[in-house]
């Protein structure tokens, strides 16, 4: 079993441009855009101005008038909070005591309701962050990165609920493209470009699925809205989404719903795949469209057979829940990690023995020990622990792992054979400073314009780094 103890520092080749941004050099990387999201982020608090902020409150306003005005400005809960505020408590103690009683009763009602219907619990940002692939999803500048399958287009979702599209840098263009922003798009958890289409991006957020048609002919600066939005039937936030290979079907899951939803966006139809068990958290479609890996918020995970009447195999982890997963480019192997133990597991989809049913051959095997160890004796920098995210390079040579509590990135070498997968130690990669950690990682897909494995890292500082692996 491979381990982190024998990792070497990744060879840093000289970088001709933008010092500190790129450690290695291939000529194509010159055309990659220089992105630092910290400079571009729109201040989220300044962004959301309510009507109440536009007016200066009148000091001589009576308490009932103030509460009624708050009610019309901000709704019931705001007015209740106003009635319980310190100012009201001083001016009209009777009103604030009544408000306290109402709040107590409502709280009691909510508690009873949650006991009877636990699934109606509102999904807070903390709960979403618990199962998101992005490290420190709530505060991270970079919330998600998605590469276009066929073209040089990179979508980066920021903490300000804005998606920025970047293209290749040219002499007269720094690579910055459209900025996708809409009130119907908040708390972005996932994104994906539609395969076999040049301009369609779908964003999974708390309002559902926002479909953007990004056309080069649209004028810059004009407010554009999603072409359409598909909501979850129970108005739940989307926690994961994946397109199939042809871009005909879109699978989505939500941490509040047990079913996986399979969407057919062209006809705006949806089919839930229901099974008893905990709600879903993470989805991953195999490269050949044959299986969908579906993790849940508990120990259970399932592998759905798409070409076999959408039946599923059920698996149970030893503890925790599946945190991250990735398919090998050939689609025969799947690697995953859970939140309970720092071990990389393998699930293979190859029939080893004749005359046995397919499910008999599948077993979960540990392939790498990710227990934390020290990288150097001077700084005592640690690498390892519970894994945060996995990414397999499109050539199938490297698997990249980020961790929940340590800041370095581990890169293992992988050797894919017909019936076997071998993993051996590789490299580690650090940020610019020791405190900088990777928020999100992914690889650029191979296409007619790109034949390199370019690792894309969204660092906690907001900068995006492109790293070409040989």
């Amino acid at each position: 079993m491979a381990s982190l103890s024998n990792l070497k520092e990744i060879p840093s080749l000289s970088s001709p441009t933008s010092a500190g941004q790129r450690y290695n050099y291939i000529s194509e990387l010159d055309q990659y855009p220089i992105i630092n999201l910290k400079n571009e982020l729109i201040n989220p608090s300044a962004n959301r101005i309510t009507i109440g902020h536009s007016f200066i409150p009148v000091e001589t306003e009576s308490v009932p008038k103030r509460i009624s005005r708050t009610f019309f400005d901000g709704g019931f809960w705001e007015s209740l909070a106003e009635a319980r505020s310190e100012k009201t408590r001083e001016q009209a103690p009777l009103i604030s005591k009544t408000a306290d009683s109402i709040a107590y009763l409502l709280d009691l009602y909510n508690k009873i309701k949650l006991k009877v219907f636990p699934h109606t619990q509102q999904l807070s940002a903390e709960r979403i962050a618990q199962y998101a692939e992005t490290r420190d999803w709530i505060n991270s500048s970079v919330r998600y990165i998605a590469w276009h399958v066929h073209l040089f287009k990179l979508a980066v979702a920021g903490v300000d609920d804005v998606v920025r599209i970047y293209g290749r840098t040219t002499d007269n263009n720094a690579g910055m493209g459209h900025v996708l922003k809409s009130p119907t798009q908040s708390q972005i958890t996932c994104m994906a470009w539609r395969p076999l289409c040049a301009f369609e991006l779908v964003v999974g957020c708390s309002q559902g699925l926002c479909f953007w048609i990004i056309d080069n002919n649209l004028h810059l600066g004009r407010t554009i809205n999603p072409s359409h939005t598909l909501k979850h039937p129970d108005n739940l936030p989307i926690s994961s989404l994946k397109w199939n290979k042809d871009g005909t079907l879109l699978a989505s899951s939500s941490i509040g719903d047990r079913a996986i939803l399979i969407w057919h966006p062209d006809s705006k139809r949806m089919k839930p795949l229901k099974r008893l068990g905990p709600p879903g958290s993470l989805l991953s479609w195999s490269p050949g469209n044959e299986w969908i890996f579906a993790a849940t918020v508990d120990r259970v995970f399932r592998v759905w057979k798409c070409h076999d009447k959408w039946t599923s195999d059920r698996w149970v982890c030893d503890g925790g829940n599946v945190q991250a997963t990735c398919w090998s480019p050939c689609g025969r192997f799947l690697l995953f990690v859970n939140t309970a133990d720092p071990i990389l597991y393998r699930l293979q989809f190859v029939q080893l023995h004749l005359m046995t049913s397919k499910s008999d051959d599948r077993e979960v095997m540990p392939v790498a020990d990710l227990n934390a160890c020290s990288l150097d004796s001077i700084n005592h920098t640690l690498i390892g622990g519970t894994a945060q995210q996995l990414a397999w390079d499109p050539h199938g040579k490297y698997i990249v792992i980020t961790f929940k509590s340590t800041n370095s990135i581990a890169i293992f070498r992988t050797y894919i054979q017909k019936y076997d997968l071998q993993i051996s130690g590789g490299y580690y990669l650090n940020g610019q400073s020791l405190s900088e950690y990777p928020s999100f990682i992914c690889f650029q897909p191979l296409n007619k314009d790109n034949d390199c494995s370019v690792l894309t890292i969204g660092w906690s500082s907001g900068r995006i780094q492109f790293y070409a692996l040989d």
Partner: protein, 574 residues
């Protein structure tokens, strides 16, 4: 298409329809059980309640009383089969539509009414004695039972309501599952969804029927009493009598829910059975006996008069084409022995290209009748055209005139003057002018007669909408063709596909251009119709799939420089 293929299709579909009828018959007993459990509910004696209800279902009375309803179900099933398997013909005017579909729709309405009535008749037999009999005795006199009439009427009304809401205008269609699950799972989900939805969907018809019964109930009872030589009772005379009778309303609502869910289930059973994957072969095996049930994909695609078969063949090809490993695809790329000819691919490609080409031609013809907003270049993007349209509207709003004056070609009333610059200008004489004016005024007069335009004129864009509604085989075929072409890079060892690539690209590109033109010219169609979006994006994706996979060779594969430029732009900008 051979007669053997038609016979095979008929046999296969007949078998499926029979299975759907059997399921429909089976579900009657399930629905009856649900009804009895709800009607005979006893909170304090649950065992008695369940045993009593089940005993009633299993009793001889039920089995005998069910016979008329089951007969009606078979009749309904036949009518439904006829609806599904009938040829879809385009009717340009409403009059033609009435002539073609009127008798079939009337027969189907009758089937609904009969099933609704007989369901109500059967179910009222299990109710309280006040509701059970058509005529009851009181003080030695016979009376027509208003409660019973009310419930029977509810049965008829529910049947009629379902027909009106689902079938009266629209052609029956099958929603093919994009994520097809096993049959038991599908049926289970269908049953749950229907039984959960029906109670809500039957509220409105119950309220409407109650109001109608209040208005016309007295008249109906009076006519019935004269017909049967009995007296009318004084129940349900006013609206208060009707709405204050909770039990009657509950029964009516329950009956409505049962009938509506029954009909919905029957419809879905047919759709489920007919949309199941049809086993097909690529080429007929020479060793097989001619009478054997073996349907080739090409033969299936050639059944133009049964839409379902064409859809099933196209779906089969699409499913096989998109698999990672497919024996069907291997067979398509194989050469036939003896002769080493790519007969399988040849037949399949010719059939697919001819269907796609035929559809494009028809679409093009139908679009000529629509006055599209502006002449649109096929490669121009939607957004750019939307910009132009907005600009034009802005100019018109603010009175900004175009620098170039509009050409005479745009003016509709100058037809006689715009016959071409080369020909000699023809000025009509007084006789021609008078006759054309007379013709015009006669037309205007005709248009003013109510119903003439409605019944005898073709609505704008009707043919286009008809084509798009029935474009499911084209949607699957284009995608299947694209997948096969892309798979040929790795799997086609004899290079059977490469010669046809230019033809396929040209056919798809032509269709894509026409659909783009339609999308830009008819914004309403673009935004409203899911079928149109489905078709348009499927064609675009198919073309994109081929173009990205063969990007290096696009120069060799496109016939003209303009086409090449458009395809290259399409790959990068969509």
């Amino acid at each position: 298409m051979t007669g053997a293929a038609i016979t095979t299709c008929k046999l296969l579909l007949f078998g499926r329809c029979v299975r759907a009828v059997l399921l429909s018959v089976g579900v009657q007993f399930l629905l009856l059980t649900v009804f009895l459990l709800l009607v005979n509910f006893q909170l304090l004696h649950p065992l008695n309640w369940i045993m009593g209800s089940l005993r009633l279902v299993c009793s001889f009375y039920t089995w005998f009383a069910c016979i008329p309803l089951l007969g009606a179900i078979v009749f309904y099933g036949m009518a439904l089969s006829h609806q599904h398997l009938a040829e879809r013909r385009y009717c340009p005017t409403r009059y033609r539509w009435l002539l073609h579909n009127g008798p079939r729709k009337l027969l189907f309405l009758l089937a609904h009414a009969v099933v609704g009535y007989l369901t109500a008749w059967l179910y009222t037999g299990y109710l309280h004695s006040d509701y059970r009999h058509f005529i009851y005795k009181s003080y030695g006199q016979d009376f027509v039972n208003s409660y019973h009439i009310f419930l029977l009427g509810m049965g008829l009304c529910a049947g009629g309501y379902y027909f009106a809401s689902e079938y009266i205008q629209e052609e029956i269609s099958i929603d093919f599952d994009f994520a097809e699950q096993s049959r038991p799972e599908k049926l289970r989900e269908l049953l749950y969804a229907t039984l959960l939805k029906a109670p809500i969907s039957s509220v409105m018809p119950t309220i409407c029927y109650t109001l109608v019964f209040w208005l016309f109930g007295s008249f109906l009872r009076h006519r019935l009493s004269i017909l049967l030589h009995v007296d009318t009772d004084d129940r349900l005379l006013g609206i208060i009598d009707v709405i204050s009778n909770g039990r009657l309303l509950f029964y009516a609502w329950l009956l409505g829910a049962q009938i509506v869910s029954n009909m919905h289930l029957m419809r879905c059973f047919y759709a489920t059975m007919l949309s199941e994957r049809l086993p097909m072969v690529v080429g007929r095996n020479r060793a097989s006996v001619p009478s054997e049930q073996e349907l080739t994909i090409v033969a299936g695609l050639g059944v133009f008069n049964v839409h379902v078969v064409q859809c099933l063949a196209a779906n089969f090809l699409f499913q096989e084409a998109q698999r990672n490993t497919s024996s069907v695809r291997t067979e398509i790329f194989q050469l036939t022995e003896p002769g080493n000819h790519p007969a399988n691919w040849r037949a399949l490609c010719d059939q697919c290209v001819s269907i796609v080409g035929g559809f494009t031609d028809e679409l093009n013809d139908s679009m000529r009748q629509i006055p599209l907003d502006q002449p649109i270049h096929s490669d121009a993007s939607t957004a750019l055209l939307a910009e132009k349209m907005l600009l034009r509207q802005y100019n018109q709003l603010h009175g900004i005139r175009p620098v170039v004056s509009p050409t005479y070609m745009d003016a509709p009333n100058r037809e006689w003057d715009a016959k071409g610059t080369d020909s000699i200008r023809h000025v009509p004489n007084w006789c021609e002018r008078t006759s054309s004016k007379l013709e015009k005024s006669m037309q205007q007069l005709l248009h003013r007669i109510p119903g003439i335009v409605y019944f005898f004129y073709e609505p704008e864009g009707a043919k286009t909408e008809f084509l798009i509604e029935n474009a499911l085989p084209v949607i699957w075929l284009t995608q299947a063709l694209a997948h096969i072409c892309v798979a040929s890079i790795k799997e086609d060892s004899y290079g059977v596909v490469q010669d046809d690539l230019p033809t396929i690209i040209k056919a798809l590109h032509r269709l894509k251009c026409d659909l783009d033109r339609l999308a830009n010219g008819m914004p309403n169609l673009r935004t409203n119709s899911n079928n149109f979006n489905h078709l348009r994006y499927a064609v675009r994706r198919s073309l994109y799939n081929i173009c990205t996979s063969f990007y290096k060779y696009l120069g060799d594969l496109s016939s003209t420089g303009e086409e090449l430029r458009q395809l290259q732009t399409f790959v990068y900008q969509g």
